[in-house]
Symmetry: C2
């Protein structure tokens, strides 16, 4: 690999001159600039970002910490962030935390150790205190889908209470009274907030929250099927099922069909997140739109503005979910 030194030698100038043309600094004449550029091309020179980082203590890369590398939710998120950052010439370093406290912490450490200029994290297992503490460190931390009051300027979040409320209210408006709820793991803030919204909607219409119509799933397809099985085994009389995310809704749909339900007539189902495949399910799934791509762009914009000092950027911090009505929740007569 050619180094800056060889370039300088070939172009007949000093090291720092080469460095200056690299960084597009002023104070270098067109003639020498051209000479240097030619030498670079000739040698196939490629600056070492490692050395660069060490010298300048800035890496032009931002760390992304997500729960999983797969799944439609995180896919959309990573994709939106990356795309937006790439336009500004910044790169991303992605690492998964698997919703596990230790792994999330080690993810942070890795990213910090790599000298990322900032970190955008979607973490669920670490405590607020840990995050607040971490924010005092040298690497700025931005939080996706999580609201921590003490560092709210670094948070991009969805109003999950509202989302949960909208979902259940939609069912009520369709005429349902016996509504079961499959929640996500309650240590996850969005899951517990969605549940709050559900309860709020019930209360508003004078329906009581019934423990026997409540099941905690895993946010995956299995959570949906397990939940519905649970309700069926307990002979719960339900006409509507609210799921805390789309994967669980799709699992429940499959289980329902396999057990003689005629969808959507026998059971109305609603999901949450509006992940891409919901529109390809049958019946198409009514759900709550979670503007993940938009939020990803917001997070990216936030670091562009704060860290890379781009001007003219304003970002929204709290996003609103909205109801997407499709075929899985017909009117009942």
């Amino acid at each position: 690999m050619a180094t800056i030194y060889q370039v300088s030698e070939m172009a007949g100038v000093s090291l720092s001159t080469v460095s200056r043309v690299l960084n597009d600094n002023d104070y270098v004449s067109k003639k020498t600039k051209k000479k240097v550029l030619e030498a670079m091309k000739e040698l196939g020179y490629q600056p070492s970002s490692i050395a660069r980082s060490l010298a300048s203590s800035t890496t032009n890369s931002v760390g992304i910490l997500v729960s999983e590398l797969d799944g439609p939710f995180f896919g959309q998120m990573m994709s939106a962030i990356e795309e937006h950052l790439r336009i500004a010439g910044k790169h991303v370093i992605i690492t998964p935390g698997h919703s596990d406290e230790k792994k999330e912490k080690s993810g942070f450490e890795f990213l910090i150790g790599r000298n990322c200029d900032a970190i955008i994290a979607h973490v669920e297992a670490v405590s607020n205190e840990y995050l607040i503490e971490l924010s005092k460190g040298k690497t700025p931390i931005y939080l996706m889908s999580r609201y921590v009051k003490e560092i709210e300027d670094n948070c991009i979040s969805l109003d999950n209470v509202m989302g949960g409320y909208l979902a259940t209210k939609a069912m009520i408006n369709k005429g349902h009274k016996n509504i079961a709820y499959i929640a996500g793991p309650q240590f996850k803030e969005d899951a517990s907030n969605r549940l709050k919204g559900h309860k709020k909607a019930l209360a508003e219409y004078n329906l009581t929250f019934d423990e026997s119509l409540y099941y905690v799933g895993d946010f995956k397809e299995t959570g949906g099927s397990d939940g519905l099985r649970h309700f069926i085994q307990n002979k719960a009389q339900i006409t509507a099922l609210v799921c805390a995310n789309d994967e669980m809704a799709s699992g429940a749909m499959k289980y329902a069909r396999e057990h003689g339900f005629n969808l959507p007539k026998d059971l109305a189902i609603i999901g949450f997140d509006n992940v891409i495949f919901t529109n390809y399910l049958y019946p198409t799934l009514t759900t709550i739109d979670n503007p993940v791509p938009e939020m990803g762009r917001a997070a990216a914009n936030l670091v562009l503005k704060d860290i890379y000092k781009k001007s003219g950027i304003t970002v929204k911090h709290v996003f609103q979910p909205k109801l997407i009505l499709r075929d899985s929740t017909p009117d009942i007569n």
Copy 2:
């Protein structure tokens, strides 16, 4: 941030001694080792991987270049690779190439510039020649789902011709004779190989390949719906539809239903890849299993063996697809 220097000072030893305990080198007594370790803990010392990389020209990180950050296919792939590498204490740096030649090249450059110890790439737009040339560089390149003869030892691939063959043969075996095919973009090698397999199966059963039953899609849901619309508009009389991947199959299913088809009776559909949600579609989708996670692990193993010199590893380079029969392809009477 504490540096190695401060640790050495606090422990009362020299820089290099600290470095040696960091790297678990011999030639350091237990007593001094303990002293150093304590000093590190006290200072909350965290080695700078940047400086480390610069000095040792090894980064303990492998680059991953995929087409997209979202989508079930790449999600599974990244996830499998990352998980397997992490066990060995290696980290991944992921960047997308968007199936675009320029972007793929710039992805390679980024990863090489970051001094990755190796790169695992799923690229589709760059030429074989480019890859061969790249392989001569300092950073070893491994290819996922792509077979390039000259560097076959660095390739992990699926027998796509066989896969395409199995899919169409399955339809024929079910009794279909009028089989339409929605292909993927033909510059992508797997797409063109799957098509080859399709033609091979047709030929084997004396069916002629009919251009009017052929459509090139985009490997996304829209490709499936566009393709089926195309066939319908051209009044193609078909009883079976073979799609070159699952996303397109799901798009076609949705379109079919919206246009009065009674699935699976009126139209048998098969996909390709066996992506997770195929099992949650209705009817559940018959497809060809693409052992992506297994292949991801194989790629990870390959770099563990070649680059990090782990012993006792043998890896399979070419994987075989297999037919997964589900409800979307019933027997016809």
